[in-house]
Symmetry: C2
Subunit: 309 residues, 2 copies
Amino acid sequence: MAHEIQADQAVATARFGDRVAEAVERKRSQLLVGLDPRPDLLPVELRGDAHLGREHAADAFARFCRGLVDAVAPYVVGVKPQLAFFEALGADGMRAFEEVCAYARSAELLVVADGKRGDVSSTARAYAAAYLERAEERPPLADALTVNPYLGRDAVEPFLAACRRDGGGIFCVLKTSNAGSADVQDLVLSDGRPLWHEVARLVREWGEDLVGEHGLSSVGVVVGATHPRAIGEARRALPQSILLLPGVGAQGATPADVARAFASGPASALVNVSRSVIYAYRVEGGDWRSAAGAEAARVRRDVWAVAGW
Amino acid sequence: MAHEIQADQAVATARFGDRVAEAVERKRSQLLVGLDPRPDLLPVELRGDAHLGREHAADAFARFCRGLVDAVAPYVVGVKPQLAFFEALGADGMRAFEEVCAYARSAELLVVADGKRGDVSSTARAYAAAYLERAEERPPLADALTVNPYLGRDAVEPFLAACRRDGGGIFCVLKTSNAGSADVQDLVLSDGRPLWHEVARLVREWGEDLVGEHGLSSVGVVVGATHPRAIGEARRALPQSILLLPGVGAQGATPADVARAFASGPASALVNVSRSVIYAYRVEGGDWRSAAGAEAARVRRDVWAVAGW
């Protein structure tokens, strides 16, 4: 019993960068699987229930995501549930979200809640409490949260405080995978740099005092794998940040596109794959769990190979 | 019955700008009250329950917000529930959020869900479904949603599509009330303008084909009332957008600071007041409902006077 309490406290106080580094080493994987449940894409055996109302749809989401966790757990360091898909089912969806987060953590996977949250500080404190803070009787819902940096330092500070206290991390949205990312993120500043380079400089400052023993900060960034050149630039601008790289698979990027992200070490980048893993059964046929597991195993191997560690 | 259905469809298809214009005219008010329930600030009669766990705290939130809706309804055009505070109580909190939104709508108030959401298009579609779209058996949860523009046009498009179809609106975060808003929003572009001026130009484009009969677009912006000069600049850059102005009251801005926001008409700006109304009883004493109602009546009158219509 005393042993259990000690282990629990050790997990809680370790810095997020160290937790990622240890998970990557232990699993020999830099893969996250994105949990993006959508009613119209669920396996037939689950889809039947999902049309009976939100409560049933949320149950179907939870069963789908638990099945995915079981299937991909050997091959991934964590999962990235996308809050929007759960929120689309309202409170029932959020109940499923909580269940899925707890299930993934019980499978010893890191949970990156993908919510792109961000607001003024009194509000950001509530978001930090929702996702990154230990409450009396429960551990933090997630290990990390994606955060939007548009509101500046004081809006991010409550998340940093939560990371300091409870060992979580954040990934600031830096340069996203979509075409429209150019509209704002690529705007040219008076010194000739694109806007997102200045956001990278700010993120480096924000994460400076949260660097763990493995040299990785609790403050990472999201960079779309669809922009290979941006990955190299982000790597140089943020040598101690973990790069979270969505866009491999359905969005068109390949493992080769992300190779340079690993220049700061084997755990210095995490590749997220969502649709091409979780809906692999729609292409490959067969059991949806087996198809997801096989695809996760394949991507994990390819990413590990290009990372070159 | 036929009449009811027609009325319902009329509400659904009217443009958001027209719905705001009609509400402002009917209520003679440009005030929104922000619903920011926090366990530690609840009236004592509700706080007792809130410490018995999340379900009880969520019930207390719902009772608090319903009481506030009753108290301020005569003086406001709508309410702006802040999602973060509800999310901090997890699925129980989201259940309370849904209940509060439905209650406010039944009191014929507009509901602006304050979530600052934003993500790539497939994900933004899920957020639009969550907050702005009519589902089979239910009306949209909210009339409008605050949105973060950092991901660009294609990430906003799903919200615009929802607004076109179901009559909702969005408020893009432009220049926020916090000090840290300078970090990113005020960055100087190569042509000498601050970044947020270019975001304003983008927002104008996004909202161009959603202008209603009253000349107001479904695409508005959030501008902190703590920056009076920015309000004037935003007004000129976005003559057809409704300016949502937080920051009056606890954050230090006064009704006089927002006067120029109304240059495009009596409904061309909405002033949001949160803490100084909903927690007025902590300063004024007495019944929390009466204190909130009295403060809302006072701010409504002051804003109406400076708007000068």
